[in-house]
Amino acid sequence: MSPTLEAHTPAERMAVAFARVLRGAGLRVPLGSVLAFVDALGRLRLDQRDQVYWAGRATMVRNPEDIPLYDRSFQVFWLAVTTGPEEPAEEPLHITLAIDDEGDEGDSDPGSADASEEPQITLRFSAMEVLRHKDFANYSTDELRDAQQLMTRLRFIGPPRRSFRHRSSRRGRRPDLPATLRSALRTGGEPINRHWQESGERLRRLVLLVDVSGSMEPYARALLRFVHAAVSGRQKVEAFAIGTRLTRVTRELNSRDPDKALAQAGSRVVDWSGGTRLGESLRTFNDQWGVRGMARGAIVVVLSDGWDRGDPAVLGAEMQRLQRIAYHVIWVNPLKVTPGYAPLARGMAAALPYVDSFVEGHSMAAMEELAAVIAKERQ
């Protein structure tokens, strides 16, 4: 499948063998990197453990997250001793949409189940219309597929911001010197026709944080579709799954094929339907990505029901931190539609003061509304 390298010199043999170990451990090692490793080994001493170690790291590792895996692989390779079996982190997990009775905290919504049966009987709406308002939790597998079709049609525009790039404009107030010069050539060097430019506009980054914990299970998959629609339709989108820990899924969701994208993202997230540590996950996001720049001036969308097993004070503090740097924070809560729902979840209550828009997220219609909220931020 992947091109192979005819190994002749000791450096080549070493590089090829080690690359094989790395690939076996799950690291992506393109041939170009192996060749760079061969070059590097050519300049170093092959009998020096540290030199080989660092040469491999400089040429074949490109993310700090991969360093622990590299380290273990290097040990295996260098000492030729086997460590314990690899933890199955990379194994694709099957995502089921079964709604199991969450015994705890009473977060099931009995009212909506009955309510959504009704329109099916009276059937005045088109199937699509029914689907649009049906609670994701009550979807059948087929309906889910239809909804996914609908969702791919959502378009995300989002508010622009001023960029450093300028574009020609009649109303602009900055002289457009290149254009003025070009027309001056035609008028004997006299800049008679003056051209102007104004600041261009750029899209704001959209950051999506999807809660994939147990209480969100009926919704998480549908919401992830929504996120996929956003990621594949728009240039500057970042997506993360939050549960017991934070997982970045932007790259996995980038695939055009939604099923493939979801399968890839699903295999990346190891804590599907686990508990929720919203505050901790958000803190990790803020520390590693958000505050460093990703969330600055961005629209941040949190998709979660707000059930948090951690300390609500942590969640509150992290939401405050997030709101201070983000342009707009939107919280999407699928439970918001439940009649009489007040944000009783402690986490939700702690987070709410730092949320700019609080919207529902239980159905297609709600998702459309969310897309509209995102787009409306224009003014």
């Binding site: 030199q51 400089a58 010197l177 003025t180 060097g189 990505w289 720049g293």
Partner: protein
């Protein structure tokens, strides 16, 4: 050209930067393989400093390109000096020189190298000095994708084309150092073109040596205590754990105040030089300044 990573280690140390083994090896490989070096890591771990010390060591001119969102060709590569071009045009008109010229001949005069404003990238490529320059592309993660794609092209071929003039190729490729704070992922293709090194906070002994080198007026005991206190601070789960830059700032502040060793009052008064967030300062005070000082003392007394 260095012969081994140890040579690099020695040279960098001599010029004021104490690298760990990984960094020395990466720099060495970057020099001998003529590949750009991508340094990623937390803010304040000394990524930018690597380029500066390389320039001091090799004697190559330091050319710095600070990236930001929306950076484009006219700011990073080249621009035309339009006001001078216009003046030239009018002068040609006034002296009657332009009468005998066709528009295209006139245009050719205008798009001459003397009206070209070379920005950092072109400067680094079109460089005729005997020593190759050190090109620092700082905070590449702030620039956008299109710029990264352009950069990849430049860093693969070491040449730049100006449509009106033609191709500029580097006689000797510059030493290229890219830094990223990882606010977003740098594109994989660009990463593959580069050698990659993740820069970490230095360990205790290395940090002591850095403080001793950068703040020579600080006594050895103070240097050890400051490094020890910073080590403790990094373990406190702060929003922004102090980097080497902050350690140096702190040691400088303390030395300037004539402090020979830490005590609770001085730490309290100077905490702002190491911790730049109010929440972090609060957290540290909750942890207890007295404890911090005590731990720093323990570290400071340990013979190396």
């Amino acid at each position: 050209m260095p012969a081994t990573p140890d040579d690099v280690h020695e040279a960098l140390s001599l010029y004021g930067y104490i690298p760990d083994e990984g960094l020395a090896t990466s720099v060495f490989l970057s020099m001998v393989l003529q590949r750009p070096l991508l340094l990623e890591g937390e803010a304040g771990v000394g990524k930018t400093e690597v380029a500066k010390v390389l320039s001091r060591w090799t004697g190559g001119e330091l050319i710095r390109l600070q990236c930001y969102e929306g950076i484009d060709v006219s700011q990073a590569v080249y621009d035309w000096d339009y006001s001078r071009q216009l003046l030239h045009l009018r002068a040609a008109e006034a002296t009657g020189e332009s009468l005998g010229l066709t528009t295209s001949a006139l245009e050719q005069q205008l798009y001459h190298e003397r009206f070209l404003l070379k920005r950092a990238l072109l400067k680094a490529i079109d460089h005729h000095h005997e020593l190759p320059p050190v090109l620092l592309i700082d905070e590449i993660d702030r620039a956008d994708d299109e710029f990264e794609a352009y950069l990849l092209e430049v860093l693969s071929e070491y040449q730049i084309t100006v449509p009106e003039l033609g191709r500029f190729a580097a006689a000797r490729p510059p030493l290229v150092v890219l830094t990223s704070n990882r606010t977003r992922d740098v594109h994989d293709a660009l990463k593959r073109r580069c050698l990659y090194h993740w820069v970490e906070h230095p360990d205790f002994e290395r940090e002591v040596r850095i403080v001793r080198m950068r703040v020579p007026q600080a006594l050895d005991r103070l240097a050890r205590q400051v490094a020890g206190a910073v080590e403790t601070l990094r373990g406190l789960n702060l929003y922004k754990p102090p980097g080497v830059a902050e350690t140096i700032d702190w040691a400088q502040a303390l030395a300037a105040m004539g402090v020979n060793e830490l005590d609770e009052r001085t730490v309290n008064a100077t905490l702002g030089t190491v911790l730049k967030y109010r929440e972090d300062q609060e957290r540290t005070r909750q942890h207890g300044i007295a404890d911090l000082v005590k731990q720093a003392f323990d570290r400071g007394f340990q013979p190396s």
